[in-house]
């Protein structure tokens, strides 16, 4: 089934077009990789899917599990199972990771009409997720991304994903800034998380993440359009040749 379905999505900021008609279908159980040069519109696409309001949607639609979400608020999209790991995670000083995560989990439970998770169960869940990502549980007490290293911030994004268990996760350059060991740990975390009923979209510049998580599809965005789609071999080809050969097409 199509979990995420984007059709003819065109987006601009001010009068500047950034996305020029994107089509993308992501089915349950799939891993997609989105690659492309700096400034080609990858993060814009990710943000617009998540409901960021600074963009003008010129045309097209976004659907999650067959239902249009183009006009929903970011929190409603989140409640329906959409997750975005940010390219540049922001700090929220003084708000502990724990408190933040609990608020997020509670909001999901409320939206689903489920009872609130108890503090004890929550702690256990958060601890084990932290451990899985090689993070000291002390980390949960610190302010959200406050003083975190670049790599810690990225791991923290994945921690949130593991806890919220979204249906569709868009991970925007989660691999950049990770050292070699951290990359393996995070990649393993993501791999272990993927299953037959969810899907992951990896935005990345590097083939090395894809060594750990085999993508079913690779898409290349250039200048706001998907210029090529293929399987894993496309990523290998890009690694070798760069993007210029595509632009010449």
């Amino acid at each position: 089934m199509n979990l995420l379905e984007i059709s003819d999505l065109a987006v601009s900021v001010g009068n500047q077009p950034i996305l020029r008609g994107i089509d993308l279908n992501v089915c349950a159980g799939e891993v997609h990789a989105i690659m492309g040069p700096n400034g080609s519109g990858k993060s814009t696409l990710a943000n617009v899917i998540a409901g960021r309001e600074d963009y003008q949607i010129d045309r097209g639609r976004i659907a999650l599990e067959g239902q249009e979400i183009t006009t929903l608020s970011p929190e409603e999209r989140a409640h329906r199972g959409l997750f975005l790991a940010f390219q540049y995670p922001i700090e929220i000083p003084g708000v502990s990771n724990m408190e933040f995560l609990k608020a997020a989990v509670d909001s999901h439970a409320r939206a689903a009409g489920d009872p609130e998770i108890t503090a004890v169960d929550f702690m256990q869940m958060a601890r084990s997720a932290a451990e899985q990502l090689g993070l000291n549980p002390e980390f949960l007490k610190r302010g959200v991304n406050e003083g975190f290293s670049g790599g810690e911030k990225k791991r923290n994004e994945i921690l949130q994903m593991l806890i919220l268990k979204p249906k569709v996760s868009i991970l925007d350059e989660t691999d950049s800034g990770l050292d070699i060991d951290a990359l393996r740990i995070v990649a393993n975390g993501i791999s272990a998380f993927t299953n037959t009923i969810n899907a992951v979209v990896l935005v990345t510049h590097y083939q090395r993440l894809l060594d750990h998580i085999e993508p079913d599809f690779v898409h290349v965005i250039a200048n706001g359009s998907i210029v090529r789609s293929g399987d894993h071999s496309l990523a290998l080809e890009l690694e070798e040749k760069g993007y210029s050969w595509l632009e010449n097409d």
Binding site: G51, E53, Q56, T71, E75, F83, G94, A103, A104, S107
Partner: protein, 490 residues
């Protein structure tokens, strides 16, 4: 914009002021106006000794010569002091015990969540296990209507009663300390208070005594067109410790009401006073109509060596707040602290801060101020750190942070440093930040609605101050911020 949802930080809608109801009771209220007769009436009504009547009259005559301070970062139309009523009390005899109090009034406090029955408070303890009982003095308009846990406190030697009772029962203590920290002529509003103050709380903690429970006074303005002028006097003898909390609310009314209180704290050798305020006077509506003018003078004197006074305040209410809880550090090695959260929304204005006056050797002061402005409000921190020639090796640390929500509000910082000590250390740090769209989007992407997100971000910003509040009030303060911020987003 993506779709129909538009939660910009600038959007403003009404806020919910839960304490805004009026209690329907008979009251004896003086007609508006202020002259010598009014001062004499208040004094006579309280059956005061001649010296106090005279003290009030001197204050009144001094006040006539003074003009309102105009240096604050606040704006308001001239106050007509002749249109205010200076005394209002529930009709009938002054209640002797809480059982005699008008049930309507008791219901008011119940509605506000203030436990006035010791029985109830004790039952509460059993239920929640670790929530300790709190002794309460409830001040309704101009008079104290009752103080709880008096007996328990008396056994420990602690005096906690209304100011009126203290004048009768402990005249020597009152006479010795009244006006000794904030002199009658200290400033315009202190002089006015000294002339017409009606009631308030009195605390005396004897030598080497740790007050066995939190003390608190709960101020409630109910009558229309009245001002509230209460006085609090707290004395901690050598080696004594007391923690005191003040709370305040008022009904929602279209006209402004004046609250001009005076608080004096005295800490002798090795004594410690912790004074916390959760100020939630009616702030006015979203268009800036109505609300309390909160013009308050609070000062503590660390008279003894190694004494300590801390002020912690959470200021969310009032149309205008003008207050600078201060500490005069006279004793050697004495410590002054000021922890403040001041939140303004809609058209509220706050000009608040502190004064730390270092006189003794090795005196230390810490100032942590967190100002939050939302809506079209204005929020100013004004702080003075003075080190006099005798303040050998005095130290101050000031941290002053402002958080802005939206584009139409303003934050100002006015630090004044007057150091006459080359060896004095004064550190000042200041930051201004904004609740950013990125922070908000992160929260919302994780499913957290914008109002909850803003209140969480603001609470995080205030953490260093909330830590200083007594546990049970820290939770309350957090909730209060949430309510006060309602409409700041959306």
């Amino acid at each position: 914009m993506a779709g129909t949802d538009n939660n910009s930080l600038d959007g403003l809608v009404g806020r919910d002021y839960a304490a805004g109801f009026v209690t329907d009771i008979e009251a004896d209220t003086l007609p508006p106006g202020l002259d010598e007769d009014v001062v004499r009436f208040i004094s006579a009504r309280k059956d005061e000794p001649e010296w106090l009547t005279q003290w009030r009259l001197d204050a009144y005559h001094g006040w006539l010569e003074m003009i309102e301070p105009s240096w604050g970062q606040v704006q308001f139309p001239a106050i007509d002091y002749q249109s205010i009523s200076y005394y209002s009390a529930p009709s009938g005899d002054q209640p002797k015990t809480l059982d005699d109090v008008d049930p309507e009034i008791l219901a008011t406090y119940e509605k506000l969540g203030i436990p006035l029955h010791e029985q109830a408070a004790l039952a509460g303890v059993a239920e929640t296990q670790q929530r300790p009982p709190v002794a309460v003095d409830a001040v309704f308009d101009s008079v104290s209507i009752g103080t709880t846990f008096k007996e328990t406190l008396r056994e420990a030697g602690v005096i906690f009663c209304s100011f009126t009772e203290a004048v009768h029962d402990y005249p020597d203590l009152v006479r010795k300390y009244l006006g000794s920290v904030v002199p009658r002529g200290d400033n315009f509003f202190a002089a006015l208070n000294s002339a017409v103050f009606s009631d308030g709380s009195f605390v005396y903690v004897p030598e080497n005594t740790r007050c066995p429970m939190e003390l608190s006074t709960y101020f409630r303005i109910n009558e229309r067109n009245t001002g509230q002028f209460e006085r609090t006097l707290i004395i901690a003898e050598r080696g004594a410790y007391v923690s005191y909390l003040e709370g305040c609310t008022a009904p929602m009314r279209d006209e402004n009401q004046l609250h001009a209180a005076v608080v004096e704290l005295i800490a002798l050798d090795d004594a410690e006073i912790k004074y916390s305020t959760v100020q939630n006077w009616y702030p006015g509506d979203e268009d800036g109509r109505g609300g309390i003018y909160n013009f308050v003078t609070k000062r503590g004197a660390c008279r003894g060596d190694r004494s300590k006074i801390s002020w912690t305040q959470v200021e969310t209410g009032s149309a205008i707040t003008w207050k600078y809880p201060s500490v005069v550090l006279r004793g050697d090695d004495s410590v002054g602290e000021f922890y403040s959260v001041a939140l303004t929304n809609n058209h509220q204005q706050a000009d608040t801060g502190t004064k730390m006056v270092h006189l003794g050797k090795n005196t230390r002061s810490t100032i942590i101020s967190k100002g939050i402005s939302a809506g079209q409000s204005s929020n100013a921190y004004r702080g003075l750190v003075r080190m006099n020639p005798g303040a050998e090796k005095a130290r101050n640390y000031t941290q002053c942070d402002s958080l802005l929500i939206g584009e139409k509000c303003a934050a100002h910082t006015f630090p004044y440093i007057e150091s006459r000590r080359p060896d004095g250390i004064v550190e000042h740090e200041a930051t201004t930040s904004r609740v950013s769209d990125d922070q908000l989007f992160l929260c919302r992407q994780r499913g957290i609605d914008p109002e909850k997100a803003v209140s969480m971000i603001v609470n995080g910003f205030c953490k260093d101050v909330f830590r200083e509040l007594p546990m049970e009030f820290a939770v309350e303060a957090g909730k209060l911020l949430e309510v006060s911020l309602e409409g700041a987003v959306g």
